[in-house]
């Protein structure tokens, strides 16, 4: 008897799941149509315009000989931006690590402080770096420091959160064991938490360096520094060839950093 009953229940479960999927899909379609109507967006028009956009890019954005003459200058600025990104990320990572110790469940001093740390980190992370840059422009002006702090704040917020997660996930058990031997908190941090979270944390730091090279381009346009400034300058002079060379060099730099970081990851994992 229970067999028939459970079979009936099983059918019920399957039909219910199917219904759920169908309704979700229908709901998404309806939502898209409504949203498109509100903002007067026509997907067809957008896609048909694509070939035109591509042909414009091909005819205007191919780096010219004049652009290549500017390559040394571009590379100089690119190096400056890359080094800034690296130094920002590393500084933010060191601060974020000690901050995350206060936020993590396994090492926190008190529950209230831990929530405060998580809130501060969420605040820094969720204000976009461009907004930080615009706010900081008031205090520092068009200066490299503005870019530095704008990137620092978002990186710090982001890394604090990921470090807290890594510490909670990876080192809760060995932390307990070291406390049980009579080790102090700092001994436990250096002997258990740092070794067991190092690989994962370094992965996040490398990822943030890549992200920051991209972000710093945008911020550089606002603060008139680094590679972003150069892009802005060429673009406004209608020198599209040079502007696209800037973009291509940024892509190359990010790819290079990605390759290096995947090598580093392999070594430390």
């Amino acid at each position: 008897m229970w067999k028939a009953e459970s079979a009936g229940m099983r059918v019920n479960v399957f039909t219910r799941r199917k219904r759920l999927y169908t309704f979700t899909l229908l709901g998404m379609v309806v939502f898209y149509v409504l949203a498109a109507a509100v903002v007067e967006f026509n997907a067809l028009e957008g896609f048909t315009a694509l070939p035109r956009a591509v042909s414009w890019i091909v005819s205007n954005l191919v780096p010219t000989e004049k652009a290549f003459a500017r390559l040394p200058k571009i590379l100089g600025k690119l190096l400056e931006t890359t080094l800034l990104s690296i130094s920002v990320t590393v500084t933010a990572a060191v601060c974020a690590f000690f901050f995350s110790l206060l936020g993590s469940k396994t090492t926190r001093v008190s529950g209230a402080l831990s929530s405060a740390v998580r809130m501060v980190a969420a605040f820094f992370r969720n204000v976009p770096d461009v907004v930080w840059a615009m706010l900081l422009l008031f205090s520092f002006g068009q200066n490299i420091l503005t870019g530095f702090f704008a990137l620092f704040f978002t990186t710090f917020g982001m890394l604090t959160r990921t470090f807290i997660e890594t510490i909670d996930e990876v080192s809760a058990s060995c932390t307990e064991a070291l406390y049980a031997t009579g080790a102090t908190t700092m001994q436990t941090v250096f002997q258990a938490i740092i070794p067991s979270t190092m690989a994962e944390n370094v992965t996040w730091v490398l990822f943030m360096i890549e992200t920051n090279i991209r972000s710093s381009t945008l911020i550089g346009m606002l603060t008139a520094t680094g590679i972003g400034y150069l892009f802005d300058l060429y673009y406004k002079r209608l020198d599209y060839g040079s502007a696209s060379l800037v973009v291509l060099s940024i892509v190359a730099a990010v790819l290079l950093i990605e390759t290096i970081s995947s090598r580093i990851r392999k070594v430390i994992l």
């Binding site: 058990s173 307990e176 406390y179 049980a180 009579g182 080790a183 102090t184 250096f190 002997q191 067991s196």
Partner: protein, 257 residues
Amino acid sequence: MSILAFHHVSKTYDQKSIALQDVSFTVEEGEFVSIIGPSGSGKSTILRCINRLVDATQGTIVFDGLDVTKLGKRDLRRVRTKTGMIFQHYNLVNRLTVIENVLHGRLGHKSTLSGMAGLYTEAEKEEAFAILEKLGLTEQAYQRCDELSGGQKQRVGIARAIMQKPRLILCDEPIASLDPSASKVIMDHLSNINQTMNITCILNLHQVDVAIKYSQRIIGLTKGRIVYDGPADALPQSTIYEIYQSNKGELITDVEG
């Protein structure tokens, strides 16, 4: 003289779930005691109250003449150096080598700074290697812990505990994740440590037969209360059913007969 005494200890988590209710017992120096009971009966809580990984809600726990429930940070650390702990999931720093994990047992004896930097004396290192030799881990000394088998990891756990030069070793389900042959190796080592080094051992075990075979004394725990405390060989079958709150034929130990 008793090395450990629980006096009317109770523990409530989050003011709701009761883990221990009015638990009292004493352990003499050199004893080998097993605590058995169903999951959630408070076995882990008892062990963790001794080295204060968990704070008891009520009652006093006297270890080596000191009431551990009232200790400040510094004294608590001193008590912890005298109580080694072995875990079901070994709780090693997996990315470090075996020898580094064993030396962690000395951290409680060192200054904060030298412990942070991992600076150990030659004597400490020699002792760590001697312990590894005793536990048959000499070849693995420089291997990373995540390359080891479960049985080897637990031996590293034991080595770390012995490195502390403890007077008491607390074992929280030491063989629950191990196969029968690794389990025997671990139990034999613990028994050997108990007899040759005169270190008192308190174990939480799920395996009633293992508890009866290895320990002199068994404490049976049900819903945070002690329902049996006596010699292992005198544990009546009916009490086992009482501890696990089950009827004849419902326990895995019944299958053989």
